[in-house]
């Protein structure tokens, strides 16, 4: 049974480069194309939270350190 996780993405810190989206093994992240942050950039969001396995790939790859991953304790 894989771990359950939750991803918190800082909207203002994200520049929408999409690296986290391409590196998520379970495709739970996506770029939100309907809203922008104060820079006018589309930011990444946790679109399917139930899929997240708390692997932390997204937070490691994020060049702007905008992602924090939480792991749910059993």
């Amino acid at each position: 049974m894989p771990a359950k996780g939750y991803v918190e993405i800082s909207q203002e810190g994200c520049k929408g480069c999409g690296l986290c989206v391409t590196h998520c093994p379970v495709s739970c992240l996506e770029i939100n194309t309907s809203d922008t942050n104060s820079f006018g950039l589309h930011y990444a969001v946790l679109a399917q939270p139930e899929k997240c396995i708390a692997c932390q790939n997204c937070s490691v790859i994020c060049p702007d350190a905008a992602i924090t991953v939480y792991k749910k304790l059993e």
Binding site: K15, C17, F39, G40, L41, P63, D64
Partner: protein, 351 residues
Amino acid sequence: MPEIKFMKGNEALAEAAIRAGMNGYFGYPITPQSEVIEYLASEEPRHNYVLLQAESEVASINMVYGAAGAGARAMTTTSSPGFSLMQEGMSYIACAELPCVVVNVVRGGPGLGTIQPSQGDYFQAVKGGGHGDYRLITLAPNSVQEMVDFTVLAFDLADKYLTPVLILSDGAIGQMMEKVILPDPVKPSTNKPWATTGKKANRERNIITSLYIQSEDMEAKNLRLQKKYQNIEQSEVLLEEYKMSDAEVVLVAYGVTSRICKKVVDLARAERLKFGLLRPKTLWPFPKAHIDQLAEKTVTKQFFSIEMSSGQMIEDVRLVVNGRKPVNFWGRNGGIIPTPEEILAALKAQL
């Protein structure tokens, strides 16, 4: 000991400006360049420079004009729509022969465009977007390290030739984070006898103007400027070559596109296609003499201009090649960053 940091392109540029002894920054935030003014604002209490957020880009370039006239190392940064607004001021500063550094972190256009990286401001940068016969020394960085190096170089060139220097970056380099080696801070020379710092009893008054009512005076000014520009064209060309010694197909690319093209060259070489990359580091002065030699070489079969615009630099390449070899174009625009595989496939179709 050089200081090594992991920084965003825009922040590295701001830090380099501080270390180069910049003492006046006048800017207006615009994505993808806003980190420059943010960084400078957060560092301001620890350094001795004037930081002012102007009410518009028109105001900020004219503030730079004033500060440069008073002998400051002045700088402004902007992105494409803001650079369009600055053109009048650029022409004034070029005519008044004042040193300043302008940074354009290009985004997609025309119009308000998009906020993703592009190279659509090439014409505006190197052909002189303002009125009259003037030129801008145009430096095109392709890494965060070069954002730092070219900022220091830009201030020095501006002081050496008394002319505005443009750093033509793009949204990708500005937003990218990379390792940088920061230079030691320098104390720039304050010996500027032409600066309007208040007339002393023992010297003539200094006048800075770009208005010459008499045509003869204006023509003399133009001739003087042209002589300066010829001098720059002869001595300040910078370029980089990659696997060019036996290249049959020469890719010409600058900025972030040149990094993608390096990979294209490697991919092509793996397929035994003899590709090479020529990267102008200075877009004006353009490396004319070098491309002229390449066009003469029998091994060279074809030139490609690869751009994130609709074909702007290709005109300069064609001018120099002058029909001796075919010059083709490939590019994407509107904020799209092409992949190496995509470029290689498109080029192979045009060989």
